[in-house]
């Protein structure tokens, strides 16, 4: 194989950047802290992804608006407040209305086991409880966005 075909020559010099996965991490609702969301954001960053982090107190409308402008490949939502049964389906509905139902949504935080089936039914792609290994979340995001990159 010629060295010409190897990365550095064409990449840096010709300025052809590689596609990267872009993931929106948001905290819907009125949670007071975002440590968990930041841990996920860092794990995805360390896995080579670009994480758009929007911070606390996001409405479903703000989340979908940001996801559209940032053209993300997936959305991760962290909820501790207990409002997941209203907020998460609302995000799914708004994504559908915006023609973005192809963007997978995963959730984490404190979501009781008994609420999970209905949320999955509503269109949430995965729910990760406290203590989920970070590699599991990274693998999930990679698998669900495999077609994008």
């Amino acid at each position: 194989m010629s060295e010409l075909t190897q990365a550095p020559v064409n990449d840096a010099a010709a300025g052809t950047p590689q596609p990267r996965l872009r993931i929106l991490i948001a905290k819907p609702g009125l949670d007071g802290h975002d440590r968990g969301a930041k841990v996920i954001a860092r794990a995805l960053r360390d896995a080579g992804m670009e994480v758009i982090y929007t911070g606390l107190r996001q409405t479903p409308e703000m989340i979908v608006d940001a996801a559209a402008q940032e053209d993300v490949d997936a959305i991760g939502l962290s909820i501790l407040s207990g409002a997941h049964n209203t907020l998460l389906p609302r995000v799914i509905d708004l994504l559908q209305a915006a023609g973005m139902s192809d963007v997978p949504v995963f959730a984490g935080g404190i979501i009781p086991e008994e609420d999970v089936p209905a949320l999955m039914q509503a269109g949430i792609a995965a729910i990760f409880g406290p203590g989920t290994p970070l590699e599991e979340i990274v693998s999930f995001v990679r698998a669900r966005t495999a077609a994008h990159c």
């Binding site: 010629s2 060295e3 010409l4 075909t5 020559v9 064409n10 990449d11 840096a12 010099a13 010709a14 300025g15 052809t16 950047p17 590689q18 596609p19 990267r20 872009r22 954001a41 860092r42 995805l44 960053r45 360390d46 896995a47 080579g48 992804m49 670009e50 994480v51 758009i52 982090y53 929007t54 911070g55 107190r57 996001q58 409405t59 409308e61 703000m62 608006d65 940001a66 559209a68 402008q69 940032e70 053209d71 915006a98 023609g99 973005m100």
Partner: protein, 329 residues
């Protein structure tokens, strides 16, 4: 002000992704948009981490919105050199702009290559410009030369500083004072703000000021101001309380008028186009050269360099001479 449908905003977002990915199919959009560029006031905002750039940009956008203007924001942050990933968090400070159809915010990671980023940022700014946004803000961390280059994609460059970041004024340390058209000391409610203003003003005296072109009376700018060129002012803002932001909006409008009346704006844009053309020409020549030389010719030259028989420049000159018949070494 233009109004974009949800579908238009989504199409714009997707085109920006293709620009970032170096996907050449986006050239169709850029080609169609190119003649419509130039109407927006492009403003580069740069400054040290922690100076409050994002909050200031957010407050500026709000002030423009209240005046009925639309705003696009291109927020650029560094990629991790190790993993290539990035955390793009500027939206945290722009929460109050969320959901406003007159505002479009896009976070961009630098993705390693400086040349690649400035080309992508230039194309992204052009596309946002052509979409009819009245203001296109390009926000970067002012830590090094690459960010300085990107801020230069703008018509007007704002350098943001904050008090209480040590004894040194960060902008002076980073060598970015020279590119400022307007200096802002943000977080002006904090202790030490006046000291920072004084330090900047003192430093400005040592910076050669933009030379103005003469002529054209009958505008809000006095002849004296034109003769003297543009004088960089130090403004104070407290972005979290929107204090001083109206004065900054007015100063930016004044600078734009000065660019227009003095002819400096046209000169800057020509310089920018020349820079973009050169970047693209270099890239295209290299691609064509590598195609023509083929892998073997390139590898042979590389072996010469690696073996210590040729310097990189000599090897490159020989390759170039093979490509261009009749040229000298």
């Amino acid at each position: 002000m233009v109004h974009h449908s949800v579908a238009e905003r989504r199409a714009l977002a997707r085109a920006l992704t293709r620009i970032e990915n170096g996907d050449l199919s986006v050239q169709d959009e850029l080609r169609a948009a190119w003649s419509a560029t130039g109407a927006a006031h492009r403003i580069g905002v740069t400054g040290a981490p922690g100076s409050g750039k994002s909050t200031l940009v957010s407050a500026l956008a709000r002030a423009w919105r209240l005046r009925g203007h639309s705003v696009a924001i291109l927020s650029i942050d560094p990629s991790s050199p190790i993993t290539g990933g990035a955390i793009l968090g500027d939206r945290i400070r722009m929460r109050e702009l969320s959901g406003d159809p007159g505002v479009f915010i896009r976070s961009m990671a630098s993705r390693g290559s400086v040349g690649g980023l400035s080309a992508a940022a230039a194309d992204a700014a052009a596309l946002l410009d052509a979409h009819g946004f009245d203001f296109v803000v390009i926000e970067t961390v002012g830590a090094g030369q690459s960010e300085v280059e990107i801020a230069r994609l703008a018509d007007t460059v704002v350098v943001v500083e904050a008090p209480g970041m040590g004894d040194d004024v960060q902008a002076i340390k980073a060598g970015i004072l020279e590119i400022a058209d307007v200096l802002v000391v943000n977080k002006a409610d904090r202790p030490g703000a006046r000291k920072t203003v004084a330090a900047l003003q003192a430093a400005l005296d040592l910076v050669p000021q933009t030379s103005g072109h003469h002529g054209v009376a009958g505008t809000a700018l006095s002849d004296a101001a034109l003769d003297a060129g543009w004088v960089v002012s130090v403004l104070q803002t407290t972005a979290t309380a929107a204090e001083g932001v109206d004065a900054l909006v007015d100063m930016l409008a004044l600078h734009r008028e000065w660019l227009h009346v003095s002819g400096v704006g046209d000169a800057r844009r020509r310089r920018r186009y020349s820079q973009e053309l050169r970047v693209r020409l270099r890239e295209q020549l290299l691609l064509r050269a590598l195609q023509i030389l083929g892998g073997d010719g390139y590898d042979a030259a590389l072996r010469e360099v690696a073996a210590g028989r040729r310097t990189p420049l000599d090897a490159a000159r020989e390759l170039a001479a093979q490509l261009i018949i009749g040229s000298e070494l």
